[in-house]
Symmetry: C2
Subunit: 294 residues, 2 copies
């Protein structure tokens, strides 16, 4: 890896960790320990927040969080109550006073952001905002995680739905997933197939499936990336994983088909050295058929 790029990232990290120190200080300025401030902040962002999720989000010990919350209760800032769904779980809610505290922290964050922008002239401000957005986007792209999971999971279904509605918009002929379908949840359930979901910070941003056609042949289907995550190589990484899975399953080649409207998919397959072949199925929406030896 390019040592100049590494130095660039390190230098960035050094500088920005100073900045973050300033953020912590502006939180501490309200005279409350950082732990409590973080809890107030999270509680203010989410309307209802169970301690379990909060613990996971802030990475705290259950005993420690319990005490933090009790301290906030004593200060009249938060209330806890049994969850209606699960009696073991307790839910945190800010009181009116707590909400006021949250607003104060929120305002402090705003002020800090303003202090960063204020000394810059308008065009530089714009450049800074643009560059920050780019860094953020690319950092998130790097943090995308791809996992195999049941094709019937909530996120998997959501991805498929997004995918179908996009096809319906883009195909000249429209799209109805039930017409001539060669793909159901069973086709993506091991050992008949596999379903992948790509997530960025917990949110699903892409999917892909591999279906067993015979002992040596797999078919790649349902490769989709959310609009918010395009141009970040997510589809490419999904393809990597699908092909790796195909290898692991002992397939010698993978096939796939595509509609002529999906030009970026076409480019993706060509780049990954897929070779156009003749029609191998009777998918009514397909115009091109590809093959790749593994």
């Amino acid at each position: 890896m390019d040592p100049l790029q590494i130095e660039c990232v390190r230098s960035f990290n050094r500088l920005v960790s100073q900045r973050i120190g300033a953020l912590d200080d502006s939180y501490l300025a309200r005279g409350r320990p950082l732990g409590e401030a973080r809890v107030i902040f999270e509680a203010g962002l989410a309307e209802r927040l169970d301690l379990r999720r909060l613990r996971e989000k802030l990475g705290l010990d259950s005993g420690y969080l319990s005490r933090l919350v009790r301290s906030l209760e004593a200060q009249g800032i938060a209330e806890v109550a049994k969850s209606a769904e699960d009696g073991r779980v307790r839910e945190l809610r800010l009181t009116a006073k707590g909400r006021a505290e949250f607003e104060a922290y929120d305002a402090a964050s705003d002020r800090l952001a303003e202090a960063i922008l204020a000394p810059l002239a308008a065009p530089l401000r714009k450049r800074l905002a643009t560059a920050m957005a780019e860094v953020e986007r690319l950092l998130r792209a790097g943090a995308v995680e791809i996992t195999i999971e049941p094709a019937g999971s909530a996120d998997a279904r959501w991805c498929l739905q997004q995918y179908y509605s996009e096809l319906a918009k883009r195909f000249d002929e429209g799209f109805d997933p039930s017409v001539g379908s060669t793909f159901g949840e069973d086709d993506a359930t091991p050992p008949a197939g596999w379903f992948l979901v790509a997530r960025s910070g917990g949110e699903a941003v892409g999917c892909g499936a591999l279906k067993r056609l015979d002992d040596t042949t797999g078919e790649i289907k349902r490769v989709w990336t959310a609009a918010s995550a395009r141009g970040l190589g997510v589809a490419s990484r999904i393809m990597d994983r699908l092909e790796a899975q195909a290898c692991a399953a002992g397939f010698k080649k993978v096939l796939l088909d595509t509609n002529r409207a999906l030009v970026e998919a076409h480019a993706l397959y060509s780049n990954r050295s897929y070779r156009e072949i003749g029609r191998y199925n009777d998918n009514p929406y397909a115009h091109h058929w590809f093959e790749k030896a593994l």
Copy 2:
């Protein structure tokens, strides 16, 4: 200020503070408190480091640092010895073992940077490095501080020297500060004049001077920005301060002259609504003369 830009900065802060958490964790992973790790890191970067400077750099209490250092001594990681120049000051040096520890922390930073870059394809990596460099540059630009200080201070002299050697390179006729000079240290010492130094993270990156010509007229001289800080509005901010100082001194107008080779200075003055006037002095290096009413 644009609320979208503020939100952009805040979102960036949120994301990056998670990243920084990861950095701290990778330091803590060596089983040593963060305070000690930071001391080792600073001691590794600078060959010889006196405790006074270290304390200032890390913002630590003297008693606290004293204990941190003693703990490192006990671990065989660092040694302290009286400074040769000043018997009150103690200097910190890493032992061989300490240097090995430093290398380990250094490697951890490298690994973290690599982990950020690794999942991205080469073109995205390049985009990330570029965007990070841009963010860093602009954050530093925002943190530039401009202070009035004696024209004879070390940084002031350094800036002037840089400025003179640049003029010598750029002027067709060369430049010798002693020829026809209308500016000495006395001319920038209150109440005869003022000298400003711009600093970014402690390092001088620009300067400027205001000289009293008569009770109602000031002259702006020696406005210079280091090459590393150009394009960031530093000269513009120096001009702001000089004009503000001129107002405060009761001047009604300011004058300045410039050489035809300094095209960017020319543009700067025009943008700030300086009006070209006739020759008002006999500076042998000047081709243009400007005036601005305050």
